[in-house]
């Protein structure tokens, strides 16, 4: 009996140690993977702070020890207008998207409206229309309506990137809201619209926030509609600003990179604020109905 215990003890000890070692190894490998995958981001940050003479150096400058913020100062003067256009367009897209997607998701998830299946199907298929096809037709339509260079055209075009995704996300969130809530509101005499606005939306606010943030981000990152629907430089969003920046001056890389860093801020905010829902968002729009 005692021999069994004695012989088992070191084994168990070793197993626990190696388990801990394996966990540490796992974290180590994980850190290396993340470092490799996120290296381009670090490199952007690094370059945004380098002096012009260091940017063309023959050996990589791994740390911006003699850094300068001149790049960032340039951004505010040359890209400030583009950033403002992007902000207006992204907020507008967010509003349009929530206005269309919210009621649709509520109708599908809770009111059991007729034709739910075809609607889901239509939204899934809409996501798959090639962007260049949309750009081609929307340009012709916007041209006919005199909306080229108008932020309104960009808002409506960008919303086509968001409405299906937002509706499907909100739909899966709203399905989790208990029916008793809307029943109680109905017994209290609230109309459906009122129930939606003051009961359902507050309860499902995480879903609303996720849908809103994604809509903002999609519009903020849009390049195809931006480059086709704006011809005047002062009406172009920041993505087009960067594109033309690269084309125009090939040496001013620290300003380009500083613009890139600033243009990445919304993505960083999204990841921090809604970390839990980002993965769920990718998944729910892709695999789930």
């Amino acid at each position: 009996m005692s021999t069994v215990i004695r012989s088992a003890a070191p084994g168990r000890h070793r197993a626990r140690l190696s388990k801990r070692a394996r966990a540490t190894l796992g974290t180590g490998v994980g850190l290396v993977i993340v470092a490799v995958m996120l290296f381009p981001l670090y490199w952007m940050l690094d370059a945004s702070l380098l002096r012009p003479q260091d940017l063309v150096s023959r050996t990589p400058i791994w740390f911006p020890l003699h850094g300068t913020v001149a790049g960032y100062r340039n951004v505010l003067s040359s890209q400030g207008g583009h950033l403002l256009v992007s902000l207006v367009v992204s907020l507008g897209t967010m509003a349009v998207t929530l206005l269309v997607a919210g009621p649709a998701a509520y109708g599908m998830a809770k009111l059991r409206v007729p034709g739910r299946r075809p609607l889901q199907f239509a939204l899934l298929v809409a996501q798959m229309i090639p962007g260049i096809v949309m750009a081609n037709s929307l340009y012709v339509i916007a041209n006919r309506l005199g909306l080229i260079n108008s932020p309104l055209a960009l808002i409506l075009a960008d919303s086509t990137l968001c409405v299906p995704f937002a509706t499907l996300i909100l739909h899966s969130f709203l399905r989790g809201v208990p029916d008793e809530l809307s029943e109680a509101a109905a017994i209290d005499g609230a109309s459906r619209l009122r129930t939606y606005l003051s009961v359902i939306l507050p309860v499902a606010r995480n879903g609303v926030i996720t849908a809103a943030l994604f809509s903002f981000l999609f519009a903020w990152a849009d390049f195809l509609f931006a480059v086709t629907l704006t011809t005047q430089d002062n009406r172009a969003p920041v993505t087009v600003g960067i594109y033309r920046f690269i084309g125009a001056n090939l040496t001013d890389w620290n300003s380009v990179m500083a613009t890139g860093v600033i243009a990445s801020i919304p993505a960083a905010v999204l990841l921090v604020v809604a970390q839990r829902y980002v993965a769920a968002g990718i998944g729910s729009a892709a695999v789930k109905d």
Binding site: G30, I33, P40, L111, R112, G131, S137, S182
Partner: protein, 319 residues
Amino acid sequence: MAAMLSETAPVAPAAGAGAHPVRGRRRTAWRAAGFVVPVWVYILCFYVYPLVSNVRMGFQDYTVSSFYTGSAPYIGFANYLAVWRDPQFARIVVNTVLFTAGSLVFQFGIGLALAVFFRRAFPLNGVLRSLLLVPWLLPLVVSGTVWRWMLYYDSGVINQTLLHLHLISQPIPWLVSTKLALVAVTLVNIWVGIPFNMVILYGGLQALPQQVYEAAAIDGAGAWQRFTKITLPLLRPVTLVVLTLGLIYTVKVFDVIMLVTQGGPANSSQTLTTYAYDLSFQQLSFGQGAAVGNLLILVAIVFAGIYLRAVRDQEGPNR
């Protein structure tokens, strides 16, 4: 099951209260339709109408003058013929296939490897996993710009590092060689797509029944055997979804190519999507651009069909 319960629950009181329960329920259902009218109108205006007008434009001689005169004569298949006879067209189709296949194989392979790796329990697992999503969230214009900067011939960090490690003796002309530009844009697109593949495959792995693995371990199956004999077969539905969806997304990639190489040099990294853009917005031949766009719609339809079937099959047992 839970969803079914909650769907039937609210019907009961209504059926008890109304004199004509069925008609009453149907009327409220139609009144509730007000909530989905906006989205249907939206779908008609912003997806169906552009789609139809693009198909029509493919058969019209639509150029800049059409904007002023308001008329674009129908010319049958002339746009398609013009595209077909373009000496670059074959190259562009081949590029599109290579770009798509290369992107999918490596995005999926690396994504799956990472998904399997992150199934282990270790500290910081969750944080590291969400950090890996950053490439997916970043505006593609930003990623494309950074990669272009990293791929430069003599001041790019990739060539400098490879030279430093003595893996190459000459810098690689990633962006200026007609042989390598397509490799460069594919590389960048792989990097962009890894997080998406990882997230969905990780979700798929989490849903696999654990007992099968325990049983296999008892039977003495090794790690590699468990992977090839259990994980891969069980993961097949998710794999199909990821690959078809990935294909639909990859064929329409625009930003990465425009930012890294602009389809050049000499069309060597041009795909059907950037070619359609070039025809419409650089050569201002909207009819031909629409024709190429319609080819892309055909590709999307075929793979959307496969995708929707895969999703249905995957959901079947869960419902």
